[in-house]
Amino acid sequence: MIRESATVTVNNTDTCLIVTINGDIDHHSARTIRERIDSELFFYRPPLLVLNLKNVDFMDSSGLGLILGRQSRAHELGCAFKVINCSPRTRKIFELAGLERIVDIVDTE
């Protein structure tokens, strides 16, 4: 009945699992995104998990928990973790929390 505010697209190659988040990351959408990424991660068990934020229109502090949580889940499985295509707006929130010191974040090129 209620539309999801974000969708997740998954692309698995031999070297990495690329997860693209489309839409808004807030407390509401974080749950669906988290469950989807975790199930894909456990299924593929890739050497590297890449979180692509290219299509993220909005993110609040819920995104911080989501990203930190995915990094620790990935590390638990011995999988490297990286965030790519981070917009200036999203980076502002990451910097507020000092996330760039803990997570490998690459800006939008």
Binding site: I2, S5, D24, D26, H27, H28, S29, A30, R34, F58, D60, S61, S62, L64, G65, L66, L68, G69, R89, I93, L96, A97
Partner: protein, 157 residues
């Protein structure tokens, strides 16, 4: 609340009530953003406002109405001096220690993946954040922001 100076008059106001459903996080920030758009804020300012409202409303849903759902009351006031005030009120559990709650990385929600950065985001993106809370009765968050002068932005280009 009366405006303190003559040159700060209330020009428009919008009041709305939403139940504490998580889907209403996006509704509340979209509605607030749409209403504030008449002030012609910069894209950056609008994003600051939307993000702060999202944080405050999320707090109502995750914390205030953790045990029982309730209503969230939002009032957006626009003033003639290009300042705005957003009040987000709930009748939830309230905050025992406001100082601790406002501290970065503080969260009482240990089951989820909450970062405890909600207040830090609001304080960073808005000019002033006021928190009033009575345990067992509810919380009132007041966000203030002074928008930039669009004519100044043109001059600076």
């Amino acid at each position: 609340m009366q405006s303190k100076t003559k040159d700060k008059k209330l020009v428009n106001q919008f009041y709305f009530v939403l139940p504490s459903l998580s889907i209403n996080e996006s509704v509340s920030r979209a509605v607030t953003g749409a209403f504030c758009a008449q002030m012609n804020p910069t894209i950056e300012e609008l994003a600051d406002i939307k993000c702060s409202v999202s944080e405050a409303v999320t707090n109502c849903i995750v914390h205030a109405y953790r045990y029982a759902p309730g209503d969230i009351y939002i009032t957006v006031s626009l003033y003639s001096n290009r300042s705005l005030r957003i009040v987000i009120r709930d009748k939830g559990v309230g905050i025992d220690d406001i100082k601790a709650a406002r501290a970065p990385l503080f969260t009482t929600d240990t089951t989820g993946e909450r970062s405890g950065m909600g207040f830090a985001v609001m304080e960073s993106f808005m000019d002033k954040v006021k928190v009033l809370s009575h345990p067992g009765k509810g919380t009132k968050i007041t966000l203030f922001k002074q928008l930039s002068d669009p004519s100044e932005a043109v001059k600076n280009q």
